[in-house]
Amino acid sequence: MNKLKEGLKQCKYTMFHPVNGFDQVKWNNAGSIPVCIMILAAFFLVNVFDAVLTGFIFNTNNPDKISVPSIFLITMGGFLICYVANWAVSSLMFTEGKSRHVFIMFCYVLLPYTVFEMIYIIATNLVNAEMSAFLDALRFIGFLWSFIILIFGEYYVHQLTFGKVILNLILTGIGIVIILFLLLLGYSLVQQIYVFIYTIYNEIVFRI
């Protein structure tokens, strides 16, 4: 319990002091995995709320077409792919980030976005369409904050120069595309094997 409290404290500290915060993560083994999982859960929930609880004026989703499993797949799968791609790219670039550090960094990155999105969802239920500019600004702040955390996280976790951080991010983007491509290939391969086996099974069944 005490450990969890400490983890939360460290997380909050990192949001406002990313330099020292990520330094602690890197060298003092600070930051806790349970807290990160909590952030991930909140991120998933906020995406569900986004689809369901956003005020009517701002919510253009068709309620019949909202699917929580698919939201789960997109958010968690997306996170996993980003994490794996960044870790893989960093390993190829011989950086110093360990997988634990990269995981903590990405979870911390999600936090500002999640919090501001929550505020946005509440606000959409209280204001009319004329305020949409302010709401957009609110969301933008969340994105910006997340981005800043990402830059500092990369900087300290991987111990890179600023130019290399940008390069790392671009390569991560390419890595994500490659992973998606491989997933697609794997998916179609599995499907073809399935169809092949199913056909053979059918042929056998018809002849017996």
Binding site: F56, I57, T60, N128, A129, E130
Partner: protein, 476 residues
Amino acid sequence: MKKNKKLFVSLLCGIAVLLSPLPAKAAEVPYQTYTYDKWGNTTPAPNGYLPTRSIGGAELGCGDFKDASDLFYCEARGELYIVDSGNARIVILDKELKVLDEWTALELAGGGEYTFSNPQGIYVSEDGTAYIAEMGNQEVVVCGRDGRVLQVLGAPQSTLLPDNFNYQPHKVVVDKSGRIYVLSKGVYQGIVYLEPDGTFIKFFGANNVEMTLQRRIRKIWKDILSDKAAATMQAFNPIEYGNLFMGGEGYIYAVAAGSESGAALITRLNPLGIDTLPAMKENGRNTSVYADVAVDANGIMTFLDTTYGNIYQVDENGSLMFAFGGLGNQVGLFKKPVSLVAMEDRLYIMDADKNTITEFELTQFGEMVQTAINLYNDGLYEESIEPWREVTQRNSNYLLAYTGLGKAYYQLGRYEEAMYYYRLANDRSNYSDAFKEASLGRIRDSFHMIVLVIVLLIAAAVSFRIYKKRRKGAPA
């Protein structure tokens, strides 16, 4: 024996009942009327119009039509004009569709005859002066109701016109002051705008050039290539107009002869030639071509889609009221619909392939919808609620009714109810307005409470501070 007799009699009665003509059966139509639901999907709806009959020329007693191209209804005179291009004649009917007149030739002022070769369009002003677009003779003929030619307006002469200008007038309308708007085939610069005596004023209300993605790419090439090479590429021309309608308030409704993206299919031009129609939800499909449009005094517009044989009726804000019709042989379907007129609560559609006029009559449901819309537009918000309610009882998927109810309640200042109905109609911008008013009202109502709470909070904070200070100041 007696029992058998009884059985025989009852059997006979049964047969008699079966054979007797059935009392008025429910009207069946060969199409499914539809509107859109919240998410833009088409949903079946009760019929707004029913086809009552299909009338050929022979039935009217004037001989069959052939490639007829235009219908025109002169409201002030109550006369229906049919331009029968294939037979080179104009047929004039009254409201009950009785033949009043048939012009195969007109009388020239100096004696002699003016013969038609390929009349394509007609406009008749209130005093009965007819303007006939004669494409075969490349001129517009003006004649009186008695069939005497008043004026023959040949191709306009002006330095503003391009050298290769080919005058092919096929549709014509005239405004209140007698100025003439002529559509000429193949002219994309706009509507040919003439003085009453036929002198050219200018091109009126030119359409925009439609920039599709393909064209944008071609534009980039044009910028790169030399001028000489670029000149050989296809030019970007504005969309040509296909038909005109003179609205009651001096607006000219023009439909495009074709559009690649389905945009700008219909425009409402004000006297300056600027399109004033609010952006409409897309009706029909991308390849739709509107052949004709009719607009009634309340701004309800009816379009004829010649590609799919559909008829769309929308209110003045562009929300779909009914869509019906289709392609086929049955009465109520079309093969090549070319022209449409609205006469009171009936619609007449000319089919150039079937050579018939199909009559549609407004149903009770359609009448209810129109009544409600008209009441609202006249500012009778409270009165429009009842008809809208009835409409929703007949068709709970009718979004227009919910929007109508929302608007009515909004105008009455009952914002909570307005919000409820706007939400049902999925109308976000109007909902937002109602929501704003409702929350403003709520704040106004509870303003004294808000002030009280703030004052109490401040008082509590101040007293807490004083209390804390005293404790600190007190000797330990």
